[in-house]
């Protein structure tokens, strides 16, 4: 499968020309850093050439869509599976008006850790284009092969949402939803569940001590879209800014529970964390519970009605 950049450009240009959208959000090459692609907005059909679609488009876009459409802007979004579900999260949370987004689905073969590729194989960035060969990305025309096993971003190694769902259109290229690197999405959760309690506590405590509480995980998260976060409140002051094991517990567990049943598993928190905190494991534990306790088959797919977002008078369980 090729990365079909010209087709992406053509689609974006058509949306702008037909005035279906005011702007298109995608990624652009960073002129200063060869390995980096950053979120980029294009307003004119003549500028769609600034967009790029290759194995280095790491940043998720959903949280940006939230802010950009607040003023009523109609936005076309180049959306991988993770981006599309993030946008749908925000739609179901009434943060984005459905009619303000046009989702251009891009089936995603996984994204590479650009800095690592730059360190180990800088010549890869001479490529004119890229092809996807399942276990490798292959540069055109240089033929340089990058093994995914080595270079996939953590969030993409664990990805279970490669196929862009619920999009307005999907760019008809090959590429399935199956991620060969993620055969069992709950493997790490099960491993942790099997640990005796003291060891499990030590595991998390080690990470809590390392967490800087820079709020990057919260800020990138499409499910963290409250107008004012309880963790920022002063009255009452739920979370002290003092950093200790106790307050880190409060921070991470509050966040995990607030996004339980709402997390779209985009992995942005994991990508943003500078110290490698396994936020994915925390969120997947919540997902596994959603499956086990509520029978939700795909707990990461936003729905019109969700078990934890509903109130039923005949709820069998007493609130205690």
């Amino acid at each position: 499968m090729s990365w079909a950049l010209p087709a992406v450009d053509a689609l974006a240009a058509r949306l702008l020309e037909d005035r279906l959208v005011d702007a298109v959000l995608g990624w652009a090459r960073d002129p200063d850093l060869p390995w980096q692609r950053y979120p980029h907005r294009v307003d004119e059909p003549s500028r769609v050439g600034e967009l790029v679609w290759d194995p280095f488009c790491a940043p998720g876009l959903a949280k940006l869509v939230f802010r950009m459409t607040e003023g009523g802007l109609k936005l076309g979004v180049l959306a991988r599976g993770c981006d599309a579900l993030g946008v749908w999260r925000l739609i179901h949370d009434r943060r984005i008006a459905r009619e303000n987004v046009y989702l251009l689905g891009l089936p995603c073969p996984g994204m590479a850790d650009g800095v690592r590729v730059w360190e180990e194989c800088p010549e890869a960035f001479d490529a004119a284009g890229w092809e996807d060969h399942g276990s490798h990305w292959v540069a055109v025309p240089t033929g340089i092969r990058l093994p995914k096993e080595r270079f996939l971003l953590d969030k993409c190694l664990q990805c279970q949402v490669r196929w862009p769902r619920q999009c307005d259109e999907v760019l008809a290229v090959q590429g399935g939803s199956w991620n060969p690197f993620c055969e069992d999405r709950y493997r790490q959760v099960r491993q942790l569940e099997e640990l005796p309690l003291p060891q499990r506590f030590d595991f998390w405590r080690g990470w809590f001590e390392r967490c800087l509480r820079c709020f990057a995980c919260r800020q990138v998260c499409p499910a963290c879209n409250c107008e004012s976060c309880s963790l920022d409140q002063f009255e009452p002051n739920w979370l002290e800014r003092e950093v200790g094991v106790a307050t880190q517990f409060i921070f991470h567990f509050t966040r995990a529970l607030h996004v339980a049943g709402r997390c779209v598993d985009c992995g942005e928190c994991q990508r943003a964390c500078p110290v490698g905190f396994p936020l994915g494991a925390l969120n997947r534990k919540m997902m596994k519970d959603m499956e086990d306790l509520f029978g939700v088959r795909e707990p990461f797919v936003p729905q019109e009605s969700e078990p934890l977002g509903e109130f039923a008078l005949d709820d069998p369980d007493e609130f205690r």
């Binding site: 800087l212 820079c214 003092e242």
Partner: protein, 333 residues
């Protein structure tokens, strides 16, 4: 400079630093951090610099300032004593320069920050010159040199194989070095070349003025629209020192603590009553960059960036200094 074999060097350091806490670069999972260990270590070849530098061992993420206790309507207040003698080992020149900058800020009149200065006075800094560049570092663009000692008491220069050069730059450093048996020599050390060279629009001396003239430039908005308002850049930055203060009350007793804050966080400058002079990411990102490259130089004569490259490598939305300089220089993208 004294020449010494690695194993002898570690033995000597361990002996000199006895009774002190050792803070050394440690690889945990895939990330390098400065962590407490029982002594100095030999660096594996893949160590270039730590994701989280040594800043937190001098200016902790959070620390008590005082303890208070109410009894019978009266309050008693005890200042916190938060320091232990320590050695911070393996600090790179960009971080050493950053510590020198923090020193000058915290010592500034009319109110020197004694808590920091006391901890600092009980810290021995053992620097390590760079033999390999990080993927995003750009120290020389900021006038920082990858073999310079700056705030270090001792500098280590990795030479050939097992051989190291050690030099002293302070009273304590000289005391320690006097106890090292090694051949006195002038070894040539060729440091690493930083990975990036910034597209500087002007000389470093003229940079503050160049930026101040661009205070209202639309480039700030083109850079900052994608900022998500986290504090990652500031927390990883070796020279960001802004902090907040709040009380942790436990019913009748408690402590007043200070904690790292960041001018990129949304509530940083919001006042009681709601007024916020920097309400959007545009003003906040501009504040962070201007403070480093324009305001601080105008105040204390030095640029508050040492080119460690952490903000470039870790910003999840790709906001960084090179992009700022380019956008303000008139590149429309």
């Amino acid at each position: 400079m004294k020449l010494v074999r690695g194993s002898d060097m570690l033995r000597w350091l361990r002996r000199c630093g006895e009774g002190r806490r050792w803070v050394v670069p440690a690889k945990e999972d895939r990330h390098w951090l400065f962590a407490e260990r029982d002594g100095p270590v030999v660096f594996p070849p893949d160590y270039r610099n730590a994701t989280v530098g040594p800043k937190g061992w001098l200016l902790p993420r959070s620390e008590p300032i005082l303890y208070y206790r109410w009894t019978g309507g009266r309050v008693s207040v005890t200042p916190a004593q938060g320091w232990r003698p320590q050695v911070i080992y393996g600090v790179r020149p960009c971080d050493l320069k950053a510590i020198a900058l923090l020193d000058s800020i915290m010592a500034s009149e009319p109110w020197p920050e004694t808590q920091y200065l006391t901890r600092r006075a009980h810290t021995v800094l053992v620097g390590m010159a760079c033999t390999a560049a990080s993927s995003c570092c750009f120290c020389t663009s900021m006038g920082v040199h990858p073999a310079e000692s700056y705030a270090a008491d001792l500098m280590i220069y990795p030479l050939q194989g097992e051989e190291y050069g050690v030099a002293a730059f302070s009273e304590v450093g000289r005391e320690w070095l006097a106890q090292l048996e090694g051949e006195e020599a002038d070894a040539a050390f060729s440091p690493a070349v930083p990975a990036l060279s910034l597209p500087m629009p002007t000389s470093l001396e003229d940079l503050p003025g160049w930026l101040e003239r661009r205070f209202d430039d639309p480039g700030w908005q083109r850079l900052a629209w994608r900022c998500l308002s986290c504090g990652l850049c500031a927390y990883l930055c070796p020279t960001c020192y802004c902090y907040g203060i709040s009380d942790v009350d436990r019913g009748g007793a408690g402590r007043r603590v200070r904690w790292w804050d960041a001018c990129t966080l949304p509530d940083f400058s919001r006042m009681a009553g709601g007024h916020d002079p920097r309400p959007t990411t545009t003003e906040r990102v501009r504040q962070r960059i201007m403070h480093k490259l324009a305001y601080h130089p105008a105040r204390q004569g030095e640029i508050l960036c040492t080119g460690c490259g952490r903000c470039i490598e870790y910003c999840p939305m790709g906001i960084h200094l090179p992009a700022a300089l380019r956008l303000l220089g008139g590149d429309g993208r």
